[in-house]
């Protein structure tokens, strides 16, 4: 059967090492495969590797699946894995971060690879579940041996062509328009799908995509605008799939600058006062945001990691009560009885309803006397501004989903003190700095005992909740819409594998 689906973006390149974006990786994972893949409940299952174990604290051994051939007929061996490692950890690659803890990798025989670690890494398989394996022969033959990262000057064959071991191969590719896949008959796994041809369409205008779904010209939308959900669910023949995303949307404060960037308060930084941060947290009504902005499509949270991420603890998920009055009092205590003015950075094309959420927050803060100048812009403009090395923001809204599905990496990247290590705290926009927190994270990073590890992570979470450099808001729900008769698996990390799609009779 044929299957057509759409979303507003397109994969930037067919090169699997070009980007770290979930969407691209998800799409390319239909053609290329990782060593380990995930089940819909996020558990790992064997893919190109049949088994793996941490043979000693600094060694991980993977046994590779035999009898796997690439789509061009060549067999898959350890050489391809080694090659893919070289390629993915080269400077042009966007995913070399997966291998931060890996020192080198060796093949002990054609179907066994051994990872030699720099440091103890208990979650390596989790971290490399999005690392897609390319064919050494094919890549070298077409001069695509180097990852075609942004910095490479020449175009790469792999940008427009793909050849992996996966369940589908690419038939035509029109960047920014559509990509057509066909089922790979020689796939090693038993297909659970019944798709023979799959067409992905990039429809930048979401309203158009909704119209197309309603009109029956596509079978599924991968990112449904939440405003269209009501209407779509009312239309016959269309079903809505939702599930909390593994992403937490949060606001953060600059707690390190001596003076805020765009504020009426001069000479000092009000966010250095924990009462001000708490006042902000108490002034934000996440339920109202859920109801009116997210249209019910969110799950409020007070944890920096989502429910579903390893390390999440629902017992800790207790939000300070919404209370503008108390917030006002806290502000007055902190010396701002009349509030103050500050700027807020917000993306407008990244997360569901991101700009509207910010706008709602602006309104709520207005009620405690905080006047916010909202600057909502596209992610291509906002991210360079707020991320390293500029960190040019005083108050912002962002979302985070750890690619390893592990709380540790989220804490390590977002809240570990800046500048202590080249790998940690790289996304610490708030400038949060807490020695105890850093110590816990360092320890958890090498702790193999899951119970102890969880205890450390819980303690770290408590510190964050107490200090409040960030205020988590909610996990947005992933919303997909498909025509009846189409069965798809909705992964919480927004992965969408074609190998689990079934198109029923009604689906054309």
């Amino acid at each position: 059967a044929e299957f057509r689906w759409a979303s507003s973006g397109d994969v930037q390149s067919l090169d699997p090492h070009f980007t770290i974006e979930t969407f691209s990786t998800s799409m390319l994972a239909n053609v290329y495969e990782p060593l380990v893949r995930r089940l819909p409940d996020m558990k790992l299952e064997p893919a190109l590797a049949t088994s793996w174990e941490q043979t000693n604290p600094l060694t991980w051994t993977f046994r590779l699946r035999q009898d796997v051939t690439f789509q061009d007929g060549t067999p898959f061996t350890a050489a391809d894995v080694l090659f893919s490692f070289e390629r993915a950890s080269s400077p042009g690659s966007a995913i070399k971060g997966y291998f931060a803890a890996v020192d080198r990798i060796e093949a002990t025989d054609p179907y066994t690879v051994v990872f030699k670690m720099k440091r103890v890494d208990p979650i390596l398989p989790e971290e490399i579940s999005a690392w897609l394996i390319m064919s050494k022969a094919w890549s070298e033959q077409h001069g695509a041996a180097k990852a075609s990262g942004a910095a490479t000057a020449a175009e790469s064959f792999a940008t427009l062509n793909a050849m992996g071991t996966g369940p589908f191969h690419v038939v035509t590719r029109e960047p920014g328009v559509k990509t057509v896949f066909e089922a790979n008959p020689k796939w090693w796994d038993k297909p659970q799908h019944n798709v023979t041809k799959a067409t992905y369409l990039a429809i930048p205008n979401q309203a158009t995509a909704v119209a197309a779904l309603l009109a029956g010209s596509i079978d599924m939308i991968y990112d449904v605008p939440s405003d269209a959900v009501d209407n779509l669910s009312r239309s016959s023949g269309i079903k809505i799939l939702t599930r909390p995303e593994l992403r937490v949307i949060y606001v953060g404060f600059d707690v390190t600058r001596e003076e805020l960037l765009d504020s009426s308060v001069k000479g000092k930084n009000p966010f250095k006062d924990p009462r001000v941060r708490r006042a902000f947290a108490e002034a934000i009504d996440v339920q109202a945001i859920k109801r009116s902005v997210m249209r019910g499509l969110s799950q409020p949270t007070f944890m920096m990691v989502a429910d579903g991420i390893k390390g999440y603890n629902k017992d800790l998920n207790i939000r300070p009560t919404y209370s503008p009055a108390s917030a006002k009092k806290l502000l007055a205590e902190a010396g701002y009885p009349d509030g103050f003015t500050l700027g807020m950075d917000c993306p407008n094309d990244r997360y569901p309803k991101d700009e509207d959420t910010c706008q709602a927050i602006v309104g709520m803060l207005a009620k405690i006397g905080i006047k916010v100048n909202l600057l909502a812009q596209t992610k291509t403009r906002m991210f360079p501004k707020v991320f390293s090395p500029r960190f040019e923001t005083s108050f912002f809204l962002l979302g985070w989903a750890p690619s390893s599905n592990d709380a540790h990496s989220a804490y390590e990247r977002l809240l570990y003190s800046r500048g202590r290590s080249t790998e940690k705290g790289t996304y610490n926009i708030t400038g949060f700095h807490n020695d105890q927190f850093d110590g816990l994270i360092d320890a958890a990073g090498v702790e193999i005992d899951p119970v102890k590890r969880q205890a450390m992570l819980d303690e770290a979470a408590r510190i964050v909740q107490r200090e409040m450099p960030t205020v988590p808001l909610h996990q947005p729900l992933l919303v997909w819409a498909a025509r009846d008769g189409v069965t798809v698996e909705q992964y919480p990390d927004d992965f969408f594998p074609l190998r689990l799609v079934r198109v029923g009779k009604t689906g054309g």
Partner: protein, 318 residues
Amino acid sequence: MSLTAPSRSSVALPVPLARLAAVVADLAGAATRAPLVALCGLVVGLAVVCALLAPWISPHNPYDLVSVELSNAFLPPAWIEGGSSDFLLGTDNQGRDLLSLIIYGLRSSLGIALLATATALLVGVTVGLVSGYVGGFLDSVLMRVVDIQVAFPAILLALLIDGVALSLLGSQRHQSAAVVVLVLSIGLSHWVQFARAIRGSTLVERQKDYVSAAEVLGVGRVRILVRHILPNVAGPIVVMGTLNAALAIISEATLSFLGVGLPPTEPSLGTLVRIGNNFLFSGEWWIAVFPALVLAVLIIAVNCLGDWLRDLTNPKLA
């Protein structure tokens, strides 16, 4: 001081006023003979009044975030079930009163359109006059500039100006300068047509005997340009300006659609349509439809007036 001087000036002063009054009366008279035009005039007049008096006539103040309640979001118009009489045309996704938003939006839209048109006029008329009158090398250079400018289509230019402003001003400043950026973007992408038209008529006017006469009589060049030629080429400018203002309103809306419009906290009609656009498929049609309706009616009225003025002032069609 002789007695003639004051008497002359006392007579002189009312004359332009009287002329203006006569022109207005003539226009009004002509308009009443075309009821449709009168209606359009009424619409435009109403829009201007609404824009000017927005703070006094709008039922709510959408800029006052303290009074906006998120819980009021997505209320339908008052006459539909679930609507509230407090919000005649319903509310938007932030719980702001749509009617007030439209009234304030008119203010932004008209303001931007007028300022942008004024910018376009200022640049276009100056370039056109100088190019047409001075001629020669300067003219060639200016006209090449016009050629190149035309190669940058209006909205593209606006996108670029927006980008440049962003990187020059820094984003925080940029937000507060959004209006300026919009005005510049739209204005600077529309000046070409004025420059062309004015240059054309200046070339014609320059050949006329009254200009030669002024030159022979020793009148200075700047004075000739400003006092003699400009008033004579100014006629079509009014009409073009009117039509351009309509175009500017549309441009503003389109820019908003492309993501370089006003921030949603200070909406214009275009921004409202853009925001509402998201809710067209979700059943909250009023958020898009009412601003769109106002936009369409306003633009039709302005265009209608412009067309009518053009036909009225075209001596060839008299």
